[in-house]
Symmetry: C2
Subunit: 639 residues, 2 copies
């Protein structure tokens, strides 16, 4: 039996067999729908709206939609079968073209900003290029009666001449067929080896010379976004980068709700699988685009917060969530890719950046590694703003850190028009005399506002006195952009006519309150930690700001809303995704990875959750820029 499916707005109609999925129907119509998970109902990227006809949607897919959306016929294309003649509307965000253009060369927004100073500072001379996994081609002298050492000793004898290790571990499976391999390839082999426990670990021995093909992945496992860089481990060159929504989002927006799913409502396995799927899809896409074979990818360094690291390794994070906040481990074992079903070379290894505590993770250790603050005599500070805000203060003598829950606001979560920092996200805003001008990522038509855009929005609203310092709209003025939507006041940044989606981009009072809470939590954490170590802001030589706000951050505006301490802006450096930078440093330099383990051992975590001064600081910070204006002497809201 056959049915027709009409796709809008393309106005294309196709005929398909009864029981076909909408994803298949779209493909038949020549329309490429987003699908990160390959049609497994995991990623939620293939959302369509059925506007007429009865579609058969799988009940499981319901978790991707709000009640509002369900009532309006939203379904996942991959989980919906055609059992009737249908008319279907494709929302712009579900078109694959959008995503693909975004991830192309120039439009890459996930990589850390190119700060030559940052790179130079770290790479030379502390972290020379010396990748975590190396391939060495060996032409061995064949054995004789005078030289009949064992096959593996013959290999390690040669390896010792070219490697920093004097001892090598080798797996049983690698040994079992070694004798034939050496002889079949006339004593010419390529040895792939990693570092482990201060020695070498032979991962694979291949016949012939394959040493020109050796690649690695640096992975930032963010709560919201997973970003993967493909790196040539022969040269250290960055070849490509791709990012995607963390597929765990279906189990909850933040780490807490995902932990509740894994530990209470559901189970760990699907949450673990989701992030593995993320990494596999990104690795496959990067490999395909850059003509790299997956089997030639031999190493991964992943950095993420402690919960994400646990999910990645399929470890129960169930004691992280509740007082006294205990992770299973903070130093992660080196595992084979095959142990986790990661589809690079099965003998390839995964290292996970070490954590400090339940709420100060490997992403922060990677950030400290990347900015170099643990190696200098001057006292510096790292502020990483994501769903949690983490702060590190210290120098080469000491390091203290803390974290505070900031909510998803700065990552574009929790606000109707919020979005992650991808193509079409408004990242810069100026409001002047009622006129709004903005810039979007990729110069595209706006689709929403990312973190850096939200910071600018708040700043511009309070500077223009559209909101008062406590975050409320000043309704005494008439402003055509201040509209009432379903009984709620919203300030319109972009009208429906300007946007890609055809919906206005706006912000409400409660969304502003959320952002103020978020910035308040981050600032209170910074202030508490500075007080704890008995310093003042002025004594911080440099403040590094990291986070997924977007490709840039307007520092004066971030100070202007009271997010960052009010010190000379020259001493504040935005370093973007420093977790990813740190992961790549570790991937390409054994010294850097070893150094990150040392940094983790040196850092002292200050638990803020029960720390009274923090609660006081938080309340004091729920004001723009702060209830204590003396803390922000340079901030004056002037149009």
């Amino acid at each position: 039996m056959k049915f027709t499916v009409k796709f809008l707005p393309d106005n294309k109609t196709v005929e398909v067999d009864s029981g076909s999925t909408l994803l298949l129907a779209a493909e038949k119509a020549g329309i490429i729908i987003n699908s990160l998970c390959g049609g497994d109902g995991l990623c939620g990227e293939c959302q369509l709206q059925v506007v007429s006809g009865n579609a058969m949607a799988e009940i499981n897919a319901i978790t991707f939609f709000s009640k509002y959306e369900i009532e309006r016929g939203y379904v996942l294309a991959c989980r919906t079968k055609v059992e009737d003649n249908l008319t279907v509307l494709i929302p712009p965000k579900s078109r694959a073209e959008q995503e693909q253009i975004l991830l192309d060369g120039a439009a890459i927004t996930y990589s850390e900003p190119e700060k030559p100073a940052l790179h130079r500072r770290n790479r030379e001379p502390a972290f020379p290029f010396d990748p975590l996994v190396k391939k060495v081609y060996l032409e061995l002298p064949p054995p004789t009666l005078e030289d009949n050492v064992s096959d593996i000793d013959r290999i390690t004898r040669e390896l010792n001449k070219v490697s920093i290790y004097d001892k090598f571990e080798i797996s049983l499976s690698c040994l079992q067929n070694l004798t034939e391999k050496l002889r079949a390839h006339h004593w010419k082999v390529t040895v792939t080896f990693a570092r482990r426990n201060g020695g070498g670990r032979i991962l694979e021995i291949e016949g012939g010379d394959t040493s020109d093909k050796n690649y690695g992945l640096a992975v930032d496992v963010g709560t919201t976004t997973v970003v993967v860089q493909l790196v040539d481990l022969k040269t250290g060159k960055l070849i490509g980068v791709k990012g995607s929504h963390n597929l765990q989002a279906r189990f909850g927006e933040d780490v807490i709700s995902r932990m509740i799913f894994a530990c209470v409502r559901g189970s760990l396995e699907p949450v673990h699988q989701a992030v593995i799927t993320n990494i596999n899809h990104l690795a496959q896409a990067l490999a395909a685009e850059n003509h790299v074979e997956l089997k030639d990818i031999t190493a991964i360094v992943a950095a993420g917060n402690t919960t994400m690291s646990h999910f990645l390794l399929n470890m129960t994070p169930c004691a992280i969530r509740l007082e006294p906040y205990v992770p299973t481990t903070t130093v992660y074992p080196q595992v084979y890719a095959r142990e986790l079903g990661i589809t690079i070379n099965p003998e390839g290894i995964l290292e996970v950046a070490p954590s400090i505590a339940s709420y100060v993770g490997g992403d922060i250790v990677a950030g400290v590694l990347a900015c170099g603050m643990a190696d200098k005599p001057e006292i510096q500070c790292l502020i990483d703003v994501g769903t949690n805000g983490e702060i590190v203060i210290g120098n080469k003598e000491w390091l203290v850190c803390c974290s505070a829950s900031a909510g998803p606001a700065f990552e574009g979560g929790g606000a109707k028009s919020g979005m992650r920092a991808t193509k079409g996200a408004i990242e810069k805003i100026v409001i002047r005399e009622g006129h709004v001008t903005y810039e979007t990522i990729g110069k595209a038509r706006p689709r929403g506002i990312c973190g850096s855009g939200l910071i600018e929005t708040i700043y511009e609203l309070v500077r223009n006195h559209i909101i008062t310092p406590d975050g409320k709209f000043d309704t005494s003025q008439v402003d055509p952009r201040l509209v009432n939507e379903n009984g709620e006041l919203r300030y319109v940044i972009a009208f429906a006519s300007e946007t890609e989606t055809g919906e206005a981009i706006s912000i409400s009072e409660s969304e502003i309150a959320n952002l103020i809470k978020s910035k308040g939590a981050v600032f209170a954490a910074i202030k508490s930690l500075v007080d704890y170590v008995g310093l003042s802001f002025e004594q911080l030589e440099t403040i590094y700001v990291a986070g997924g706000f977007g490709s840039s951050l307007n520092i004066p505006k971030a100070i202007g809303i009271g997010l960052i301490p009010d010190i000379d802006v020259k001493r504040i450096i935005f370093i973007g995704n420093s977790s990813l930078t740190g992961a790549r440093l570790s991937l390409t330099s054994i010294n850097a990875f070893e150094h990150s383990l040392k940094i983790a051992r040196r850092m002292t975590n200050i638990e803020l959750s029960n720390y009274t001064p923090f609660m006081n600081e938080f309340i004091a910070a729920l004001f723009l820029p702060h209830t204590d204006a003396k803390l922000f002497p340079s901030v004056h809201y002037q149009v």
Copy 2:
């Protein structure tokens, strides 16, 4: 359809379904047939003789039989189906009762002789009791906000107080469910850990206190026999011992023919599986008899020659066989039991004693460890006589070794009446004025002659001038024990009427020639090595003699046939199965195992195969006791 099977000599008849195996039919008749492999056609222990009727025997089983036996209707009970009315004769050796009595307590013959001096010398103080795998019960303080280190750090913090290791490795699988386990068991857990790379390796974490149940296996993987000791790792006490034929025998009597099977005629896998089956069956039998659960066995140390060690680990031994004789490795990785399908605790580990070269294996290193010669200033010598004869000379400063192929003669192979040193084996013989008196193992009716009995036989024959010093019968004398059997002269040790099997136990001229070749090869190797290092026999403070001859060895008689150098017998110590002793030492003392690794690194192998002096020595030694009588001044053949 049903058929009858009559079992002789029991004269029991049963009716079975068409297609039943003879093993099943015997069981039905209440007759227990030997079956080490559990009916898989691997062990060849269930041989029966079909005397009437047509039995359907699997063609594969043919490898267990000689042409003579096949013609006489010999079959494997487990591989033969009943498709006719049959009459079947059960040979005494196929009855399970025999084997089981043999392996009971007092009849154990596989353990090394109790030489208190040997044990004391090694255990104190160099090797204190400190087993390779330990279980420690921990009651952990529950975490608080002031003490919220990770779960694994909480464990290792306590472990560090009771262990010699300051660092612990832990597998991913062990970490993955650790958080629940700790909390479900209220912070009371038992940690099982091993040593690895100088640190600790956590194998398992169990809830509650299981520390009173921890066992290990010491395994001697001999070419002919596999022997397993069950050891209590809480006390170091030896609980039980069992041995069985190496099931690899079906692939060849000696290592060379097994390598040819694995590398040329057949494949490696079944040869590997055979020895795993040996170990599993012996472990199961030991565990059942001693009321030990297999999951409580957490460690195995195996010692064997280099080829056996390769077979055990499923590593191709294919370059060992041919010049220039190269093993895959001489130091074996620590593997989990589950990796090899060994059915103890799956997280339990197997360590294999390190080898020196292709023909000087871990059994010799274990022997050097056991006799303590590597720790003394005096120069000592170890002679291990098996299918190969291996010699080690040295002291705490230096160690050299060599090996020579001796053939299976001293292990009871290659002679019609030869047998391994089990119940019913003649181990002592005296011939006086034509009368033969003998002693058997277990004081049972004789079934054959084991290695020590064969040495005594040769000695007694030449002493009584029944054979001449070149090993030929002196036919000038009339001796009723010298009989002609199928055109071959044989000297009868036990007449058919005296024996368990009803067949005479005797020896032929060609069998004597084989034994002379074996002793000649061993002596030539000793002489070559002593000459190589520029010493004389008199300069050897002690000679340790190891081997599977039997439970005892008559040293003067061994000197008398020219097997062992003619030095003061007080300086010659028979140490039995020193490979097994060394394996057990390593199992019960980390220091001992580490020491064996050092011994292996220190030993220098002298390759005799192309060494001209050895060939000359060998030819000179093919005489009783030797062509150069000056080498054996104390030997005079007097009745």
